[in-house]
């Protein structure tokens, strides 16, 4: 069998290079606002609880500190870190994305197995002119999501991928 070919004889290990393209800089704003939308209501709720409900203060302090930390990290650290990590690339054979901040994930899906391609735009993304590309394969766990793309780029990609997918024979399972 030819399975051994990928292990190069010299023992020099191969590694994955990162995908070519970064996401838009506007994604920084998108991630920051998302963190605020999640963190601020929780923080506000705990503060209200702290003021009104005296008996619960000892443990509400813990929750409040947690929420405050989460919000600060989510605003000050997470977006920049994500921007430094997130990358994507679409070739004629595969879709390749690197995502995450604390936990990083490299995902590669072959174009021949793609089942659906969607460019999704939430309200925030519409304001910022961003779009999220959502590529699903026959595996329920195998979807690839690339957020923070320019809306035109995402639309073009979706169209291109759909065209290529239609030309590929087979039932993609």
């Amino acid at each position: 069998m030819t399975t051994e070919s990928t292990e190069s004889p010299a023992g020099a290990a191969v590694r994955l290079r990162p995908p070519h393209h970064r996401v838009e800089r506007r994604a920084l704003v998108w991630w920051t606002v998302q963190s605020l939308l999640l963190g601020v209501p929780i923080l506000a709720a705990t503060i209200v609880g702290y003021v009104l409900w005296e008996a619960a203060r000892p443990w509400l302090v813990v929750v409040m500190a947690g929420a405050a930390l989460m919000t600060v990290v989510g605003v000050a650290v997470e977006p920049r870190w994500r921007y430094a990590v997130h990358r994507w690339e679409v070739t004629d054979e595969a879709v390749y994305a690197l995502t995450g901040w604390l936990v990083r994930e490299w995902r590669v899906a072959p174009i021949s197995r793609i089942q659906t391609v969607d460019a999704v735009r939430g309200p925030l993304e519409q304001l910022l002119g961003l779009s999220t590309l959502h590529v699903t394969t026959a595996s329920s766990k195998g979807a690839i999501t690339i957020g923070g793309l320019d809306k035109d780029v995402a639309a073009d990609l979706a169209e291109r991928l759909t065209t290529i997918t239609q030309q590929t024979p087979g039932d993609a399972t």
């Binding site: 054979e93 595969a94 490299w106 329920s140 039932d171």
Partner: protein, 556 residues
Amino acid sequence: MTGRTPGDEPAGIEDEVARTTSPVTDQAVAGPPWRRLHSRMIWVDVAQSVLALTPGAFAVWVLGVEPGDGGWWPLIAIAAFGVLGAVSDAVRWVFTRYRVTEEHVEARTGIFVRSYRSVRRDRIRSVDVEAKLRHRLAGLRVVTIGAGQQSAAGEAALALDAVLAEDADELRHLLLRRRPAPVAFVDDARPGDPVQPGDGGEPDDGGAGSDDESGADGEEQVFARLRPRWVVYNVFSIWAYILALGLLWGGHWLGTTVGIDAAGFVVGALDWQSLGWVRTAGIAVAAVGAFGVVGMALYFFVEYWGFELARVPGEKGTLLRTRQGLFTTREVNRDDNRMRGVEIAEPLLWRWMGAADTTVITTGLDVESMSSAATILPRGPIGVARSTAAAVLGTDPSPLQTPLARHPRAALRRRLWWATGVTASVAGLLGWLAVTDVIPPPWVWAGVALWPVALGGALVAYRALGHAIAGQYLVVRSGLMSRSTAALQRPAVSTVAIRESPLQRRLGLRTVSAMTSAGYGVYEAPDLDADDAVAFATRAAPGLLDPFLVQNDRTA
């Protein structure tokens, strides 16, 4: 297309004939008549109603229970439940029609909400024939047609409840024998095919098909039959206690209804006071456990009586068939062309006795359901599981028996860190609760006592790790409570992912996931050495990662 082939053959010689016959075929396409489910169901429903009324009648006329007694309501409930069930079943019969056309299986049902369902015949992946006791007594069968429903989306398979046993057989043959669409992956390790899997990778859809047709004359290959001693592997579980308690409670309740004081008999049988509560509890646990074990053994035989796993020929491609059941018989046929691998799971608590569950990794079958169609063997000895899996895969040597590569020691360290971290947070939480007087202080020690258990678990989980590439298959093994070894066909892998958490980055580890449309959808090799991870991922999905690889220029 395929349905017309017989008519097309003379058409090649005489065009006129073809033209005159074509309206007939078109009519056939337009639809055979709709059929009802079998009318014998009505009689079954009547019998069920009578049976449901019997306990009440028995209580009133024979035992002389006065209506209005406390024990009266359950009998009414039984009667009402049985009769209503039977009536609704009969109503369903009146409004249900089905038919099998050239392209589809269609069913219409419902009174207020009329529903129409059609399943494309080339999408049909399994046809189950099942019969509960009442069906068997009436010679009826329930046919369930599975067509790769998305179980997550809550779609159910199309069930015909019920048709005559002969009709069920006929339906099964009809629906599984014809396979018009070419299949993306041909299991190139066909049984009885001595050719090596890699041998030329012969593009022989037709060849393999004709092979099977020649062998289609009832030649079946039996892989496993029930061995009574497997019962040992199936009686010891927590379900034994749940079953026993349920039965005992039910018996007690029934006893009080007809005036037998079972509890009083047990209380009077021994002088419990003098035994003390420890012995009393011991005797109770042992007695209930023994009762439960007997119950589980009976259940096992009722469920798996006459169990047989066999590969039977279809017209194109073969089927993996299981038959089982004493009162309720169940036959499941799985299309071999949909099979992508095999998984063997060994539960931690019974690993010393070598118990193993065997399932096939198949597209379009629901793996999460309790009586999963993916299960091809009852729980039994690991040796039988391995040899049966090897026979089912048809590859030699079996991918499930290839020696697996150990994972680096760092993987153990990661698990030890996690065990310590979890223990520390539990102990910390308990400590805080103790300080704030929510719980008594000694409880904190319970948190600390968790540590050795967690460390032991970490070691067990580490020792379970393993991975390998064996021919066409990728093999991964992992799991603490249930160590599962999965062999998955590499061409079936679609998405490949490599994941790295902060702790993994520090320890130089990465997790490789191979996503597929079959089975659980994702099969993971956790905590490989960072460099090995890329190599393993590259081999798991041949060719997929190649454009994105670079030589590691850093000196290793």
